[in-house]
């Protein structure tokens, strides 16, 4: 807790330096710059897919299947002769949409549940904590498989299944951070001041939990993309002919010898996006904490 004293020796009054701008603090290191650039490029590619895709991602050309790269097809064509690069842009689209929706959904469920359980404690906490444990005991993907089996495959079911699968992870982290934060003297002083419990949670607990939550949410965003890939890989996620990183990987896996690029392209995209997201999450956490800003 002992942050560096801003007051110089003998200086009766502090002249605190104004806080550096948000962007400057976020992009403080080269790693951060690289990570955020990559994330931005992926998002841009997804958003601009209809503009930058050289071909219709679903247009088949059965005379030119499994082409290597070249001849206008930068990443070659797949087994239906569809342009692999165009499909990759559209796949990013569905992956990012699923990632964003899942992350929002998880935040919407996991954050209040964790806050409530951690701050209320007592019987409510016991019940919620057990529910979280049960949620964690079931492997998320298996849970998701079961839910999709019940709801039918598709983007909507995929998102719902991923939200249900990942919410316990966030709730658990939030709850444990809340248990620490509620012991802090500033929370106790708010109680002594007579601040109502819900207001203490919103004003004193929540902001101090968000740092840890941010990191966890970027993780969940990354998990959601992998989760979608996994579900689509086994045919339960995004349904063909719509492209997703997962179903592209699955289709490509059938032609690893004839056209290795079909599996490599989506695989590399997933790996790079994931690493960039994890780095970016670290950076967000540092910025979210005023004590870490210089």
């Amino acid at each position: 807790m002992a942050g560096p004293e801003t007051a110089g020796p003998g200086a009766a009054e502090t002249v605190a330096a104004p806080r550096a701008s948000f962007q400057r603090r976020l992009l403080a290191t080269t790693g951060q710059k690289v990570a955020w650039t990559i994330v931005a490029l992926f998002v841009l590619a997804a958003l601009a897919a209809p503009l930058i895709a050289p071909f219709d991602p679903n247009a088949q050309d059965l005379r030119h299947t499994l082409q290597p790269s070249g001849g206008g097809h930068l990443l070659g064509t797949d087994d239906f002769g569809r342009d692999q690069l165009s499909r990759l842009f559209y796949a990013l689209r569905s992956s990012l949409v699923i990632g964003v929706l899942t992350t929002f959904g998880v935040a919407l469920i996991g954050l209040p549940v964790g806050l409530l359980a951690g701050y209320a404690r007592g019987a409510l906490d016991v019940v919620v904590a057990r529910a979280i444990d049960i949620g964690l005991a079931l492997p998320s993907l298996v849970l998701a498989l079961g839910l999709i089996a019940a709801m039918g495959a598709g983007l909507r079911s995929t998102v719902i299944a991923l939200i249900v699968g990942y919410s316990p992870y966030l709730a658990r982290v939030v709850r444990s951070v809340v248990l620490q934060v509620r012991q802090e003297e500033y929370v106790e002083s708010a109680r002594v001041t007579g601040v109502r419990p819900w207001r203490i949670v919103l004003r004193h607990v929540l902001p101090n939990v968000l740092g840890a939550t941010t990191v966890q949410l970027t993780l969940i965003f990354a998990f959601a993309i992998v989760g979608e890939a996994g579900l689509s890989f086994v045919g339960l996620g995004v349904q063909p002919p719509s492209a997703s990183l997962g179903n592209m990987l699955a289709e490509g896996a059938n032609y690893t010898l004839e056209a290795p690029m079909l599996a490599i392209a989506p695989g590399v995209a997933i790996a790079v996006l994931l690493m960039a997201l994890l780095f970016a999450g670290d950076g967000l956490r540092d910025v979210a904490d005023p004590r870490r800003s210089r």
Partner: protein
């Protein structure tokens, strides 16, 4: 019963004329903590009797583990007593609901030991100071915050800063501004200066004294520093293993302490003038573990003047001394019974 006689003696001016209700009146206040893992309990407070009159400053001294902070937290409403009675401003709050307890928060405020930790790191100072005002429906305009900052000796621009941008002393001034904001009648100060540099300690103590004289707020002032208590408080209670061993007017307790523990504490305090210096009573051994308190007098394991088996077996009652009391068998008329 003698116990109760002693208890009312603590009340100090309770005997004097006037119906003025003390802001704090604790009787037989007890707090037990269960040890982690369900193995046994610790009695942090064992039947504490204490009174703070309106506008008075009562010091609470004792070693770490003596229950000082537990008492502070009970009075501030952070935890509940296990048994006993606690009246704040004439209202019984020992088993009050959280809602009823909250209703008293405007009148009972607290200053914490660690000034930085007691401020939300994510709120600018003006929001921290405005919080008690908002909470109690008082005008919380910027001008009011600036006035409070001025009152604790901070420039108005501090309002825009965050806790990590302030020094420890400045943070404590903010904590004090928050504590006085809603005009409380009792402030619990839990070691308010012990985390600060000595030079800053003096400034903060003077500030607290000025504010007290100006506002007429009563203080329950907790410290292990006898000099600080002597400077700030007109009455003092010496806590040992969750019991008040001696209490009374500060001058009396420091000049002629009657309990051997109070004597040892007093002799350990550094004297300013050489002439005042007397031989120091060095206590042998560590304080007993609170989860395993000794029988009889809690102090008998370290007492330099233990008189015999009575100390090991019989818990001494509170014998009136001056306008306070002391719990020691040496004071009993039928010594060695």
């Amino acid at each position: 019963m003698r116990e109760t006689a002693g208890a009312s003696a603590v009340a100090g001016s309770a005997g004097s004329a006037g119906p003025a209700e003390p802001v704090l009146a604790a009787a037989g206040l007890t707090r037990t903590f269960r040890l982690r893992g369900g193995q046994g309990e610790v009695q942090a407070l064992r039947g504490v009797d204490l009174t703070v009159d309106a506008g008075a400053s009562v010091g609470l001294v004792g070693e770490s583990g003596s229950g000082k902070s537990t008492l502070a937290r009970i009075v501030a409403g952070l935890i509940r007593p296990t048994a006993g009675s606690l009246r704040l401003l004439g209202r019984e709050v020992a088993d009050a609901s959280e809602r009823r307890r909250r209703a008293l928060s405007r009148d009972v405020q607290m200053i914490f030991q660690d000034p930085r930790a007691s401020l939300n790191p994510r709120l600018p100072i003006h929001r921290t100071i405005a919080e008690p005002l908002r909470t109690h429906g008082l005008p919380a305009r910027r001008a009011e915050v600036a006035r409070l900052l001025d009152r604790v000796g901070l420039p108005a621009r501090v309002a825009e800063l965050y806790p990590h941008q302030l020094s420890g002393g400045q943070c404590q001034r903010v904590g004090i501004a928050r504590a006085i904001a809603a005009g409380p009648r009792l402030i619990v100060a839990d070691e308010p200066v012990s985390a600060l540099d000595v030079s800053v300690q003096a400034q903060i103590l003077n500030l607290l004294k000025d504010l007290r004289d100006e506002l007429g707020t009563a203080f329950l002032f907790i410290s292990h520093d006898l000099g600080v208590v002597r400077f700030f408080c007109e009455r003092v209670a010496v806590l040992y293993l969750g019991q008040v061993m001696e209490s009374g007017a500060t001058e009396r307790v420091f000049a002629t302490p009657r309990h051997p523990y109070a004597q040892a504490l007093e002799s350990a305090a550094p004297a300013v003038r050489l002439a005042e210096r007397r031989s120091r009573i060095v206590l042998q051994g560590d304080p007993p573990r609170p989860e395993d308190p000794p029988s009889g007098c809690p102090f008998h394991t370290r007492c330099p003047v233990r008189i015999g088996p009575v100390c090991d077996e019989v818990e001494p009652a509170a014998y009136p001394v001056g306008d306070g009391f002391a719990r020691c068998h040496l004071l009993t008329p039928e010594e060695g019974r």
